[in-house]
Amino acid sequence: MGKVGKPEKLIENNKRLDGRGLEDMREMSIEVGVIKKALGSGTFRFGETYALSAVYGPKPFHPRFLQDPQKLVLKCKYTMAPFSTTERIRPGYSRRSIEISKVTRLSLNNVVFTEDYPRTGVDVLIEIMQADASTRCAGINAASIALADAGVPMKDLIASCSVGVIDGTIILDVGGIEDNYGEVDLAIATVADQDKFVLLQLDGILTKEQFMEMLELGKKGCAKVYEMQKNALREKYQTGDLDDTE
């Protein structure tokens, strides 16, 4: 977590520093309904990256001038806990967190039936409790769970993961040290496991061919995340026989 000395190699014999293969994701886990006062909540973990999300609403949207007479408005807030990184982070919003909040909202807007609740707002709060890269992806995954747990009508879930290039090699699910010393970081999110990209943020130099390859790998990662999300929700809400319908 955070910066340590630059390792000589990030990949050796096709294994990454934490022992993962190139296309392995870190261990993921999900909890549903962890904040009792919230309408819905969830957590998502990629290894040491841990995000918590809560949903409040639908409720009358404030400020009023931003109300949409036709639609529900999602209000996303991504923040990092001051203790979530090696160096303490000043609490509250930064330019980075404002940008991430925006792209999170735009991603989630793809699946929420916003027309069903005119003039209302739903607050989607995301707090990164512990950061080891790919925090925006963990946040979006947790928020998706929280929205579903809140019973907000949705077409489907949003699944997110990161893809990177380290030591010239494409890898799935970028960890902290790989983020610090790697060449490229691409955060993506898809609608469920479909070929619909709703988040794309790229840093680093790469060719078009590398980018296309990264998209394919990222889709596989999102499909894995989506599978976990569905299972976690089923586990919580399954009451009787439930067909495995899409």
Partner: protein, 254 residues
């Protein structure tokens, strides 16, 4: 029918309100050195969209993790003078996004040799502030802002620094700028990909993606915006469009 629906219908029929091709920009004009008080500056007009970027250079303390490198800071102002949609006050979400997308293109392409901007390691380095001021908003602000920013950097000179002070009006040389990252925004309307959308078209968009490419025609930054999605096929087309148009726009800088 709303204007947005009309625009979508036109696009479905293969046409645009300004009669342009989908991949056609409005006239682009770049003019360097337009602000005498800035160490570097540029004006960019894309159709009615008008942007000025100014570079101010000062001396400051380096960041602890890069003690021997200069500092780059990009800011953007959606000036209420430019549009009824812009409000006074602290930078809006859109202004922050614009600045950060432009910043990523410049930073990730390593366009400025920041390691050459150290005065005294751990103590003093050159601080490069690029401020993008939107003066007339008729769409495609990220492309206009990004082009103005790199043009202003190419125009920028490092001041003379003597006895712990900047000597006003005297310069020791050009800012070491070694690449020209160009952001190109691709907007999806009615499942078609359009370049250089105006304000009315942006109101009708499903999604947009800004792709910055460098002088080697590689990608260096990307940001998806808007509510909708892109498919793999659309993204491949978008990358080709961004690289091709990036080449053309880069040619305007030299």
């Amino acid at each position: 029918m709303t204007l947005s629906n009309y625009i979508k219908k036109l696009v479905e029929e293969g046409s645009r309100i300004e009669k342009r091709r989908f991949d056609e920009f409005r006239e682009v004009k770049v003019e360097k050195g337009v602000i005498k008080t800035a160490e570097g500056s540029a004006r960019v007009r894309i159709g009615n969209t008008h942007v000025i970027a100014g570079v101010k250079i000062s001396v400051g303390q380096p960041f602890p993790d890069t003690p021997d490198e200069g500092i780059l800071i990009v800011g953007a102002e959606l000036n209420p003078i430019a549009s009824a949609d812009f409000e006074s006050g602290p930078p809006s979400e859109d202004a922050i996004e614009l600045a950060r997308v432009v910043d990523r293109g410049i930073r990730e392409s390593k366009a400025i040799e920041l390691e050459k901007l150290c005065i005294e390691a751990g103590e003093k380095v050159w601080m490069i502030n690029i401020d993008i001021d939107i003066l007339d908003h008729d769409g495609n602000l990220i492309d206009a802002g990004g082009l103005a920013a790199i043009a202003a950097l190419l125009d920028a000179k490092i001041p003379k620094y003597e006895d712990e002070k900047i000597v006003k009006g005297e310069f020791i040389g050009n800012l070491p700028v070694v690449d020209m990252p160009i952001p190109v925004t691709i907007t999806k309307i009615s499942n078609k990909l359009l370049l250089d959308t105006n304000v009315e078209e942006e109101d009708a968009m499903d999604a947009r993606i800004t792709i910055s490419s460098n002088k080697d025609n590689n990608l260096c930054a990307m940001q998806k915006g808007g509510d909708g999605h892109f498919t793999t096929e659309e993204l491949e087309k978008a990358v080709d469009l961004a690289i091709e148009k990036g080449k053309e726009l880069r040619a305007l800088l030299t």
